[in-house]
């Protein structure tokens, strides 16, 4: 009895304590991807969010989020938030800001004016790659394959690739790796299957690290990675860039800011710039 009263009382106290905390702050709520994410390492590298030893120095108080859609949902629900996502995943529920006056779009990434982009890589063991799998790689880098990449909001690596002719091979290809590369790989696989009807393609969304590992260990034919491969990994694997992906910096729709300089973004993520009021239009 007494205990229950005590509990009830403490609940009331706790609620009133929260009520007292509430304020109209304008401090920036920083959202970052997890350490090791391909999106994050490209983002921090390109904007120089690093310490003197070239190590990632994203501010510790930044929220760490593990998936693109959680970043979008969080930013859509928090007026003070800032985050970054793959350009291909950008949706209407958030606002993408221009960086140094350049809007994030496929054209701007392609012509080099929008600077924040990262590679989509595939990797495989060159000497043991099956005939079918190497044909698929050929398809990805061909005109048809690169068109699929372009149609889905990613940036092709070669404008004037040779066109692909169906090989008529049959069998099964297994790919594993980055969850960011998977959606476009899904589209590529569909396109390849319409040309080569008797081919099965299996895509494992297990993360860049696991994908590279699987390719090394032979648990899959081709690994997918949204980060550059490390030297130790390149000792056994051959890495090929299949596309570029712009990284959009997003804020809440109600946020009045629509342009940030790369210096400002850098300082926000280093924890030096902490309030939206310090950012003048």
């Amino acid at each position: 009895m007494k205990r229950i009263l005590v509990i009830a009382l403490s609940v009331v106290l706790a609620v009133s304590a929260f009520a007292a905390c509430s304020n109209d702050s304008t401090s920036i709520y920083v959202i970052s991807r997890e350490d090791g994410s391909g999106t994050r390492s490209a983002f921090t590298e390109l904007l120089g969010i690093v310490d003197e030893n070239e190590n990632d120095a994203t501010v510790g108080s930044a929220e760490k989020v593990t998936s693109t859609s959680t970043v979008i949902t969080t930013v859509a629900g928090n007026k003070l938030a800032i985050g970054y996502i793959s350009l291909g995943s950008l949706s209407d529920s958030v606002k993408a800001v221009s960086v140094d006056g350049v809007a994030p779009s496929v054209e701007n990434v392609k012509n080099g004016t929008y600077k924040i982009a990262r590679p989509f890589n595939i990797c495989y063991k060159e000497d043991t790659l099956s005939e079918l799998a190497s044909d698929f790689v050929k398809f990805i880098l061909s005109k048809e394959g690169q068109n699929v990449i372009n149609e889905n909001g990613y940036i092709m690596v070669s404008e004037n690739a040779e066109s692909y002719t169906a090989s008529g091979l049959t069998g099964k290809i297994t790919l594993a790796g980055s969850t960011s590369v998977s959606p476009v790989m899904d589209k590529l696989a569909d396109a390849y299957k319409t040309l080569n009807a008797n081919v099965e393609i299996e895509i494992q969304q297990s993360g860049s690290g696991a994908g590279i590992e699987s390719a090394t260990e032979g648990a899959c034919d081709i690994g997918m990675s949204s980060r550059e491969l490390k030297d130790t990994e390149l000792a056994t694997l051959k890495s090929v860039k299949i596309a570029d992906d712009g990284i959009a910096v997003i804020v809440n729709k109600e946020n009045t800011v629509s342009n940030l300089t790369s210096e400002q973004i850098k300082n926000i993520y280093l924890g030096k710039l902490t309030d939206w009021s310090e950012i003048s239009e």
């Binding site: 297994t174 969850t179 569909d190 895509i203 494992q204 969304q205 297990s206 899959c220």
Partner: protein, 293 residues
């Protein structure tokens, strides 16, 4: 007020308690608290389920139930079939092993044996280990070391190990709850140990065992982290245990992850919920059938 007292008694206690409430404020408060707690819990539940239904049902489309997966229709039908296959296969391994080892530990091992105690403690502890650790374990042991690559069988083995302690513990609990007089009676009538176990002890433990199985099914159907690295995210249903195949929960995870298929993920969440309800209903129906026999 309890279900067991007769109507007459009920009326009497009711009028009696009504009188007592007048001069006992504490009881009134508790009464309010208890009802309040029930209402809050029910509200949370209704909110949760209502949310999934409201968001999920409008997004249900026929194309979500097509046979062949592609990036346009993101069908969940293969995933549903895979989930069923995964559940059945996992239970086929985990349930007999779990029940038999519980039988050994309760009926055969010496009471108070050290090993039994240690196993009990570790298996309880393993239940709190996050499933990602199981996933990694399965990945290194089954996918890499055994060379099974990403396959249904690797997922099944990982999940079987994961739910084994659960089934073991609930069965053990159910067996321990059976009074020794049952066993003594059976022995007294001349039945052997084995016969006693299968004809007397296990049948009376069925409700308890099924409670454990239902819990295990819930875990299997809802599992993602342990499966991403073992059975992987192959999109088609082949029925072949050496093929990689995603369950519905993994399918939901894959759809949700990159934010490209939000509507479809709501619909998938709804179907997943319906599936959990269906499986729960089915297993309690089977449990009833068995106990009646």
């Amino acid at each position: 007020m309890t279900n067991t007292v007769s109507e007459e008694k009920k009326d009497r206690t009711k009028s009696l308690t009504r009188k007592l409430y007048k001069n006992h404020v504490g009881s009134k408060i508790i009464r309010v608290l208890v009802w309040g707690a029930a209402v809050i819990s029910a509200a949370i539940l209704i909110f949760l389920i209502g949310y999934i239904i409201i968001k999920g049902v409008p997004n249900l489309r026929l194309s979500l139930f097509e046979w062949e997966y592609n990036s346009e229709n993101v069908t969940m039908l293969p995933a549903i079939l895979n989930t069923l296959e995964m559940t059945v296969l996992t239970l086929l391994i985990a349930v007999p092993v779990g029940i038999f080892s519980a039988v050994y530990m309760v009926e055969y091992a010496k009471r108070g044996s050290k090993i039994v105690k240690i196993v009990r403690l570790t298996s309880e502890t393993l239940q709190g280990i996050p499933s990602i650790v199981y996933g990694l374990f399965g990945y290194i042991l089954f996918v890499l070391t055994c060379g099974w690559r990403y396959s249904m069988i690797a997922g099944v083995c990982t999940l079987a190990i994961m739910v084994l302690p659960l089934i073991m513990r609930t069965t053990e609990e159910a067996l321990l709850a059976i009074p020794d007089s049952y066993r003594e009676g059976s022995f007294g009538l001349g039945a052997g140990k084995l016969r006693t176990v299968f004809k007397i002890v296990l049948p009376s433990a069925v409700p308890g065992i099924f409670a454990g199985i239902i819990l295990a099914i819930g875990r299997i159907v809802g599992e993602t982290a342990a499966l991403i690295y073992t059975s992987g995210s192959g999109t088609n249903f082949t029925g072949n245990i050496t093929d990689s195949s995603r369950t519905l929960a993994v399918h939901l995870y894959c759809l949700y992850n990159e934010g490209l298929y939000m509507e479809e993920s709501y619909a998938t969440a709804f179907v997943l919920l319906v599936m959990v309800v269906g499986i729960n209903a089915l297993s309690s129906f089977i449990a009833k059938k068995i106990t009646k026999k």
